[in-house]
Amino acid sequence: MSDDMPIKLSTRTIKNSFINKVRELSGQEFNKCMQCGMCTGSCPMAEQFDISPRRIIRMAQCGLEESVVDHKTFWLCASCYNCSVNCPRGIDIARVMEALRLLTLRKNIDYAELSGLLEEEIRELPQIALVSGFRKLTG
């Protein structure tokens, strides 16, 4: 689905089980989001996203699981917490992004592969990069 295409909502497209799962994992009432865009405005990865965190939250509110997991946004999140501290509705958006990652990682699908790293990179990278990277990007 192109990002510019209108999204049609119906009882068939709204996946309540997805909404509940994200809410349960994140502990966040992301329905409170009013689409102000503070999260996107304060995100250091904003230039890299195919779609913004604001739109991901809207899609999650609408239960559009396939559309959400189709995008890279939550895989680019560095858990920097800029969005969470700036959200005027008090939503800890970093937790929502973590929940979205876990929905894939817990199906045994990893985003990062250790085998994909060059030997030189493994030698040079600080341990905290390896530990945090694999904690966030692998299951």
Partner: protein
Amino acid sequence: MKVTYYPGCTLKTKAKNLEDAAVASMAALGIDFEELPRWNCCGAVHSLADDDLIHHVAPVRDLIRVIEQGSQKVVTLCSMCYNTLARANLLMREDEEKRKTINGFMDEEIDYLGEVDVLHFLEVLRDEIGWDSLRNRIEVPLDGLKVASYYGCTLLRPKDVSIEPTGNPALLNRLIITLGGTPVEFDAASACCGSYQILGNPEAALAAAKNILDEAIKSGAEAIVLSCPLCEYNLGKKQEKLLQDEMLSRGIPTFYFTQLLAISLGLDFETCRFELNEKACLELLKNKRIL
């Protein structure tokens, strides 16, 4: 003042320059510190999923070791360790249900209730040593050195573990002034360096690092000071690649705050392990006649 010190994994290998300079400085400042015995990796990041308690076990075990050592305070140097330990501590203090589950799981350990205070060494310098007292100990002022103070994320966010609760970080600038240097106005002090995305999405992480380095260069700084080995990797070690790819106009040396502290205290420069920094760091200090 007795302090329990938690080093964390990276400080024992890639960031010996952060650790050795700090340990020598603590001794010179009369801080009675002891490395936490039997410490383990803190996990580097705080688990954000509500049902993922197992990843809190590692930092909580470290905090239990602190109690066992007869201490109430643990000091870290690495910003990521600080954040992970401080947040696990807060969770154990404030969330009764999760505390019960975690303590129940670690039935071989004493029950932990969040009794320990987790501090970053920068807080010790500000609150326990104090700027006036530190100023009196300075033997080699950083005269004329223009520095961009960089906090990154994990010293300041989320708010409940920020070392600067006012939301207007001033600590590093105060340290630089106390050491005789000149802090510059730097708009990217709390921006994210890309963090662990250097693994998953290296181009995105490098773009984030480039934005910070551009701001530092624009500010007129001659050096960046920081406290996190992952920030140092993305902003320091990765400069070579950014310069090769012509993404940066020039390089800028990055120092750990403990290195500038040790130099100012007049300690042997070998304790700073400058061989682990980029070559430009030592050259800059020599050019400025600080070394």
